[in-house]
Structure formats: C-alpha cells, structure tokens
Symmetry: C2
C-alpha cells in the first residue's frame, strides 16, 4: 500500500497546513479607481511606471511586488528555496525578466490566468513534501501588454463587446512557509483541461466556466464538503458572464453557491462606472485580489474558510486564427485560519 495524501479522485489534504507568511500587491491606475483600491499595497499613477515599454513596466511590477512580499515576511531572501511564477506575456518574460536578479531557484509556471493558484498549489506541495521551508508564489498581468499581444493595438481604439474582459494591470505575491500562525493552505484540487467548444476570444468567461465547474464539483465530491463549508468561494476571472454561468452549472448539479460565491474579476472593477464590461481578467486579477483584499479578510478573521479557484484560458492568438476552440483550466486551493 502506497501512502498518498490524496482524497477522492484529485484532491489533496496537506499533512501539515502550509502557512501564508505575507502577501503583497501592486496594481495600475484603473484598479486604483476600482472598489478594492484601499486593499492594495500600491496603486500606480500610470501604466508605464517610468519604464520605456509596457513589458518592462510589467516586469517592474512583479519584481517590486515580490520584493515587497519578501520584506513583509521578514525572511532573508537567501532562506527562500524556490520561486514559482508566471504571467501572460509570450514565453512568460514579465516573470523571467522581473525576477532574474532574485538569485533564488526559479520554476516557471504557465496556467494562463490560473498561474497564481497553480504556483501556490505547487509551492504547497514542495513545502509539505519537505523540499522547501519558504517559497515565493507570484503572477502578473498588464492591460496594455496583453491587449497588444492578444487583441489589437491600443491606438486603434477598437470597440469591445459586452462579454469582453479588462486585463488587470497588477501583480500579487504570497510567501508560503513551513511554520507560522496562518492563514494556511489546507487542501488542493488541481484541475483538468476542459474544452467547452467556445471559440469567441471575447468571451473568456464562458470558455473557462466549464473548467471552473469541473474543479469546483470535484473538490466538493472529493472532500465531502458542501458549499456552506466555506465562508466565501472565489473564482479568478470568470467575470460577470462566466460567474452567472458557473452559478447555473453548479446549481444544475445540486450545488447552490449563490450566497457565498464571487469572482475576483467582478470585484476589482465597478461595472457601471468603469466601462470594463464583463469585468477583470489576467494572471494579476486573482493574484492582486487575493494578496490584497482576501488575505486581509482572512487575517482579520472576517473569513475563516475560503476556496480560491483560479481559471485560465489556454489559448493564444494563433490558435484562434486557426479556428480552434478555447480550452479552460481551473486550479483550487482552500485557505483557512
């Protein structure tokens, strides 16, 4: 008999909860004008932050976010064993350029907008498996670098459909440690790739909702928990459209999440006044909302049990041009105080 920490089909209960020692978040000017602005460590005045390109600005954002989280943790960076990070830029250059001076073993992650929780999930395994004492988990995105890369030149001023989402300019970082007083990562549910056949790259929420449903329901079935186990359930960036689809999908399978579920992409912008249509998206969405807002709610014990489900759309502009549908993925972790 082989001992495995697995429960059910694809969930894992850590043998010892992994501590979240500190978090940090830096966001852009649009996020500064959004409802969560007071929870972020720093809000930038413009999208460049003194750099000559949006890509360089994004690298600076993730670099400074990681440095801030390390400083808050009080852990000397020589005592940090691994850095898990990724982003949306081609070949993940925001992370690799932003963190190239860190002098910490670096494992690049890519799960599109699920990257932050994929990093926390992987970092938790490394700590629980006795391969690390302290690890960095980080992700970033940038509205301008993402628009330029995935859609149209910003200078064109293209009209955006109502299902489209607004990529968050921002980064979030969490420092996970073997010892500490919490909040703690307690349960992991890594996700499978789910392709619902959606081909509209301006409707990512619909494309990712099936993956979110799959991971959410698997998590409940594996752990025997009901939605009411959690004070709050958050998806990463389904936006208004995807959020409603997920509520319907889960409801149709007997899981009512209406009262305690929300989406970080819905929370970060004011739909009525910010012209962000279906809401926020990007690796930096769940990363900054978790590192800013949700972590503070956990520290203040306003939430005691939270389920974070990060969603990612595993496509690029070439795959859309070649007529492909958009595969989705969702990774979940439970965080408890």
């Amino acid at each position: 008999m082989i001992f495995i920490k697995k429960v059910g089909n694809q969930s894992y209960i850590l043998s010892k909860p992994v501590n979240i020692a500190s978090t940090a978040s830096i966001v852009g000017p649009k996020e500064k004008n959004g409802p969560l602005h007071q929870f972020f460590d720093q809000c930038l005045e413009d999208e460049f932050w003194g750099e000559k390109s949006w890509e360089k600005a994004e690298s600076k954002i993730i670099k400074e976010t990681v440095n801030m989280a390390i400083a808050k943790s009080g852990i000397p960076s020589k005592d940090i064993d691994f850095c898990f990070a990724g982003d949306l830029l081609n070949q993940c250059i925001a992370s690799s350029f932003g963190l190239r001076e860190s002098n910490i073993p670096f494992l690049g992650m890519f799960g599109a907008c699920s990257t932050f929780i994929e990093s926390m999930l992987t970092g938790s395994v490394f700590i629980d498996g006795d391969f690390a004492t302290n690890v960095i988990c980080a992700a970033s995105s940038h509205f301008c670098s993402a628009e330029k890369q995935f859609r149209f030149p910003l200078e064109l001023g293209n009209q955006r459909p109502q299902t489209s989402q607004w990529t968050v300019t921002g980064s979030g970082c969490a420092i996970l440690t073997k010892e500490g007083t919490g909040p703690y990562v307690t349960t992991l549910t890594p996700g499978k790739i789910v392709d619902m056949g959606i081909k509209d790259a301006n409707n990512m929420g619909a494309a990712m909702a099936g993956a979110a449903e799959d991971t959410l329901l698997t998590h409940f079935q594996d752990t025997g928990r009901a939605p009411s186990y959690y004070d709050a359930i958050f998806t990463g960036d389904l936006g208004h459209v995807g959020k409603d689809i997920l509520i319907d999908l889960a409801g149709s399978k007997g899981y009512n999440i209406k009262s305690n579920y929300n989406d970080c992409g819905v929370l970060i912008f004011d739909k009525e006044n910010q012209d962000t249509h279906s809401g926020g998206s990007g690796c930096g969405c769940i990363a900054s909302v978790f590192a800013g807002y949700i972590y503070q709610m956990l520290q203040q014990k306003k939430y005691r049990r939270v389920l974070m489900i990060a969603t990612g759309a595993l496509m690029n502009s070439t795959s859309s041009q070649q007529g492909e549908s958009i595969p989705g993925i969702a990774h979940a972790i439970s965080i408890e105080v």
Copy 2:
C-alpha cells in the same frame, strides 16, 4: 529543527528514488536523418503529419508521444495523478491543445528549453512528497512553428549565422512512478536565472552557458560529487558553441568535464552534413534525446549514472526588439540505475 531533503544550497536527494517507468519520443524528418534516428520511437516523414498547420502538428506530436509513453508503461491513464508539460509556443498551446483530451490534472510548466527537466524535477517532488503515484512529464518543439514565431517566415529563406541553432521537431515524454525497477531519478538541482548580458538571439548557446555552469557547479558543490561520479553528463541544447563555453567555464573553476560531457543539441544532428550550424535546440531536443537515446543507454546499463542539465533562454522576440539581454536557466537531475 525542520526536516528538509536539501543538501548544500539548492540540491535535493530524494528520500526514495523515483522510478522512470517508460519513455517515448517522436521526431521530425530532419531528426530522422540525424545520427540518433534509430533510438526514436517514431520519425515523421514531413513537418505537418497530416495537419493543416505547424502548430496543430506540434500538438499532435506531443499528444501521440504522451499516449505512446502511457501505453508502454502499462498504467491505466485513470491511475495517473498529474501531467506536467510545456513547450515553446506562445502560451504553451502545443501542450494545452495536445493534451486537452487527456482527462488528467494538468500543471503547465515553462522553462523555455529547460521545460522537460523542470517537469521531471517537479514530478519527482510530487511523487517523493506523497502527492502522486504516477505522473507524466512531457515537452515538445517544432522547427517551423518556432522559426515562424521567434525569427523570420520560413518562406524568406533567411541565411542563418554559424552560431544559430536548429529547433528540434519532436517531443519526449517520461512516465515517473513511485515504484519500479529503475532507472531512477535520485538527485535534483533546480537552477537560478543567470543573465550573462548576451543580446544576440542567434547565439543562444552563449546566453545559456552561464546558467548551465551555475547549476553544474552548484550540483557538484552541494553533493560533494566530482564530474567522474557520472558516466555521462548531458546539457540540453547549448549546441557546439555553448558546449565549448561550458567546458571552458567549468574547467576554469577546477571541474574537468571534457571526457564525459556532451550536449543533446550536438548529438541529435550531424554538423557536417545537415547544415544545422551550432546544433539542435528547443524543448523537444533534450526531451527526445533523453526519452530516445539516453533512456535506452540506462536500461542497457551502458550508463549507470547520468546527470541531465536542461538549459533555457527565457526571452521572446519582443524582449530582443526592446534591446534586452537573454536570461538563461538550467535545471539538473541525476538519473541512476
């Protein structure tokens, strides 16, 4: 006192060696004409394999390679806990589209051409940490999709400088398991990002050699091993130029690796007759050479101790256009019978 499996600064000795149950490799027509052709499971006749685009062909290559490795292992795919995979295409679409029907929890990796060993390193941690019994580790690259994305349209027929490398069309996959008769993954040395200031995107070998040196010397210092501990040491894709630099760099620090070191990019093509200049590169280079040639040498006990060091250049075409240098990374694992 916290128990960690670390030795020295950044190496790890597994508490129980992780078994490599099977491997599989599929390569393209250029690789079919190279010196290692008889070691690959399948060599394709053309770069399309019946698909309408190079990207779709690459997805098919990684998909069929993974399916072949699973079939060889005899493990039902429902008993596989995780798939770790990545590639060079923007947003890693070769892996996500190729493996979207696998129905196995998927963690996307990105370490450029180091992705295959990054996946094996991470998969080994998941197994050793009791989070998995069986995992898939895979990576792919494709000459045509890579040239199109990183350099020039192939139709232009641009001349290539002598330091340039030829991206391998191919994929390699390894199935790692908790139990088995070997070969075994025994030691891990994850790498840090090292930027030597090289800005020539046609000289990747030079850009990555510093990272390879850093990881190689760290591995020796952490484990107390000398180069002679290994029957063979392989880097991933330094090519002829980078290989010579690494020999010099290591030699200058007192580590003579001349007699038992080679590079997978040097081995896969015939420099004299294939017009591949400095040699092979790409995620599929070390993946297919390990899964094809080196794994068979280990099974036949022609090698008993091998050190695999995969190297990656963490840049994209935008970073080069913006005048950035090329950060490198290298991850190492020891494999023993």
